[in-house]
């Protein structure tokens, strides 16, 4: 009797829930603005262009998520102030805090899509575990999704025709760095990298790029929990490289440089992109163990005498959130994501999802791009991760950060 009574009590509640979902769905379909049917000319200028970002602004990846949200909000503010929004629609950002939990991310996005006006674009989190659950939901709802979550499964235009990745392929920065080594006549390079998933992917890409460039790359790996890197460095030292390449984030790059200094091993040393985004590196830039340290960084994170209007707008927009204490790429990819959507809408003269996706696949480079991270993003109908020119990455001496930028050469 007990279970049946419980079930009997649940039936009216279930009916109510079904009715509510049906009403909600009807409301959604009637207020849809970007689901593939609304053209710019037909859309009401009063309806906003809604960008939903579903990421963990709290929880274990809170700082990543907060950076991502700030990048998106900065882009929305710049577009609204300088362009009047996207094709006359003010850009409105909605933030869903999934606390870094992929299950929560999926639930929140499903709930959001089931209520309120349909979003025009979704930024599917800031890390891959968020992306792999959010992109399929966005794809099922036929909404454009674009962001930094990077997983090979997401770069599948046949399966996810409306999803675009912001991060270039892992081989590009490695090819750029090997070109740097080659230009400096370093034919033997030592590399130390983490055994974690990201470190391993960088290591593999570097090995392939070195082979392609004709550089002999000797490698050593470390565990992220290692408290001392002397043994790994001695292993590399035995191969007599002309330069050292360091990959890592958090404490490990600091420990590596400390132990290299203790060994008295002096040679040109270059930290990778993750090393360049590690606070202990720029905070300790005056310390003797960092003397002569070089960093590979995106051009956007390096101060140059002349600054484009887009970069000035971006930095000003970011300053509104407070002092910029991390390298600019921690927020600039998300900023660019919204700017690319704006450019695609402008090129297509539509905010309909298929039209914007098609425009992204055939993006024309404007004279003054709105984006700041890569000079040019090249997507194709079969490749939704951007191809980029190797000159986007540069090698600069370590220095304190000013407004999220290293001093430059």
């Amino acid at each position: 009797m007990g279970p049946w009574r419980t079930r009997a009590r649940r039936i009216p509640a279930l009916l109510l829930a079904v009715a509510a979902v049906a009403v909600g769905a009807a409301a959604c379909s009637s207020s849809s603005s970007g689901g593939g049917t609304t053209s710019a000319s037909a859309a009401s200028a009063a309806s906003p262009f809604i960008v939903v970002i579903d990421t963990g602004t709290t929880g274990p990846y809170g700082p990543n998520g907060t950076d991502a949200v700030q990048g998106v909000e900065a882009a929305a503010n710049v577009l609204n102030q300088t362009q009047g929004g996207i094709l006359g629609h003010k850009v409105k950002v909605e933030v869903l805090d999934n606390q870094g939990n992929p299950s929560t991310a999926a639930m929140l996005l499903e709930q959001r899509l089931a209520s309120g006006p349909k979003p025009d674009a979704i930024v599917p989190g800031s890390i891959s575990t968020e992306g792999v659950v959010e992109v399929p939901i966005a794809a099922a709802a036929k909404i454009l999704s674009i962001g930094t979550p990077n997983a090979s499964s997401l770069d599948d235009p046949a399966k996810y025709p409306y999803n675009f990745l912001m991060s270039p392929a892992a081989n590009l920065p490695q090819e750029s760095l090997m070109a740097y080594f080659k230009a400096h006549h370093y034919t033997k390079v030592g590399m130390i990298y983490s055994t974690d998933a990201y470190g391993a992917s960088v290591g593999q890409a570097a090995i392939a790029a070195a082979k392609q460039a004709g550089i002999t790359l000797t490698t050593a790996t470390y565990e992220d929990t290692d408290l001392n890197m002397m043994a790994e460095l001695q292993q590399l030292q035995a191969a007599h490289p002309q330069a050292l390449y360091v990959q890592g984030f958090g404490a490990p790059p600091g420990i590596i440089l400390q132990d290299q200094y203790a060994l008295g091993w002096k040679l040109p040393t270059v930290g990778d992109l993750t090393t360049a985004s590690t606070p202990v590196i720029w905070q300790d830039s005056a310390k003797p163990q960092e003397k002569g340290l070089l960093l590979q960084e995106l051009q956007v994170a390096v101060h140059s005498g002349s600054q484009t209007t887009a970069l000035t707008n971006y930095i000003k927009a970011m300053e509104k959130f407070g002092p910029i204490t991390s390298p600019l790429p921690t927020t600039s990819y998300e900023y660019d994501a919204v700017m690319l959507v704006a450019q695609a809408a402008k090129q297509a003269d539509s905010i309909a999802t298929p039209a914007m996706a098609n425009a992204l696949e055939h993006l024309k480079q404007p004279a003054s791009p709105l984006w700041v991270t890569l000079s040019r993003y090249v997507f194709t109908p079969t490749e939704h991760a951007p191809a980029a020119d190797l000159s986007n990455w540069v090698v600069v001496p370590v220095s304190p950060l000013t407004n999220g930028q290293y001093d430059g050469p």
């Binding site: 700082p63 002397m230 043994a231 600091g254 200094y261 008295g264 606070p279 202990v280 003797p288």
Partner: protein, 285 residues
């Protein structure tokens, strides 16, 4: 020799972690899973005092010792004492560890922070190997603390009482030993040592919320190799682990260093089930 110094330095870090485990184990028969987190708290307090407050080393040491000892006593009061069974204590200790890490993440964030060394940054060549003064300090501290705790536990009345509690808690209580006070005391002592070590470990490890992952598991392995409650043997085991890790990384690869450590653990425990210094006891069959 450089590899040996590196191994001894890492081993010294594991030794002081295992020392904390042992002190608590001897006085309360509890394996404190949150001890590595207390050590991390000591490192962050060193950063707070030396960098954020620009204090001199002595006040930083005093404050770190007091705060971590207090935190350790708080853990004993909240997560250990009210829970009778070891299974329950496992859960509450993991809870205490998570709580400490969570508070540290909220206060200092998730980025690694540099703790300045109050020793010279200049490396020295000792016995033909390169080593930083901070590494030598950790090795020295591990040896001195081990000797001090071993002597106290064997020669002082307090130490003998603690050993009695470790051997048989009920019998010790019947003999008039205040078991509860002993338990509070060993938690306070282990916490105080964790606080004291913060400014010494921080410059080598950086202040990072992931630090317990580096300390906890291998600290327990050192404890198992040495034998629960065996102060000197545990430190010997910890130094051995450090050397094995460094030589494995140097000649085989970092992927194999922990594999090698656990292989040695298995071999040691198969040959000596109670660890290097574990006593063999008769039992009725």
């Amino acid at each position: 020799m450089t590899t040996i110094w590196a191994g001894l330095s890492v081993g010294g870090v594991y030794a002081v972690v295992a020392l904390g485990y042992n002190i608590v184990y001897i006085g309360s028969s509890t394996l404190n899973f949150a001890h590595a987190n207390l050590m991390m708290l000591g490192v962050f307090l060193a950063y707070w005092g030396l960098v954020q407050l620009s204090w001199k080393i002595i006040p930083v040491l005093v404050v770190a010792v007091a705060i971590v000892a207090f935190a350790s006593m708080g853990e004993e009061r909240v997560a250990i004492r009210p829970v009778r069974h070891i299974q329950g204590q496992l859960v509450t200790m993991v809870g205490a560890a998570t709580l400490i890490t969570g508070i540290i993440e909220i206060v200092w964030g998730q980025q690694a922070l540099t703790v300045p060394s109050f020793f010279s940054d200049t490396p020295h060549h000792v016995l033909g190997g390169a080593v930083l003064p901070g590494d030598l300090a950790v090795i020295g501290l591990a040896v001195v603390l081990t000797a001090a705790i071993a002597l106290v536990s064997r020669l002082s009345m307090v130490g003998l009482r603690a050993l009695a509690v470790s051997e048989d808690r009920d019998a010790a209580q019947l003999r008039g030993i205040n078991v509860r006070r002993m338990q509070v005391g060993v938690f306070a002592l282990a916490g105080a040592i964790a606080g004291l070590l913060g400014p010494f470990l921080g410059p080598l490890t950086f202040a990072s919320y992931t630090l317990p992952a580096s300390l906890a598991v291998i600290g327990f392995v050192a404890l198992a190799i040495g034998g629960y409650g065996s102060i000197v043997a545990t430190t010997v085991g910890a130094f051995g682990i450090g050397l094995v890790q460094q030589y494995t990384s140097r000649y085989i690869g970092a992927n194999y260093e922990n594999l090698m450590v656990f292989a040695i653990l298995v071999v040691v425990l198969m040959a000596l089930p109670n660890g290097l210094a574990g006593a063999r006891r008769e039992r009725v069959v």
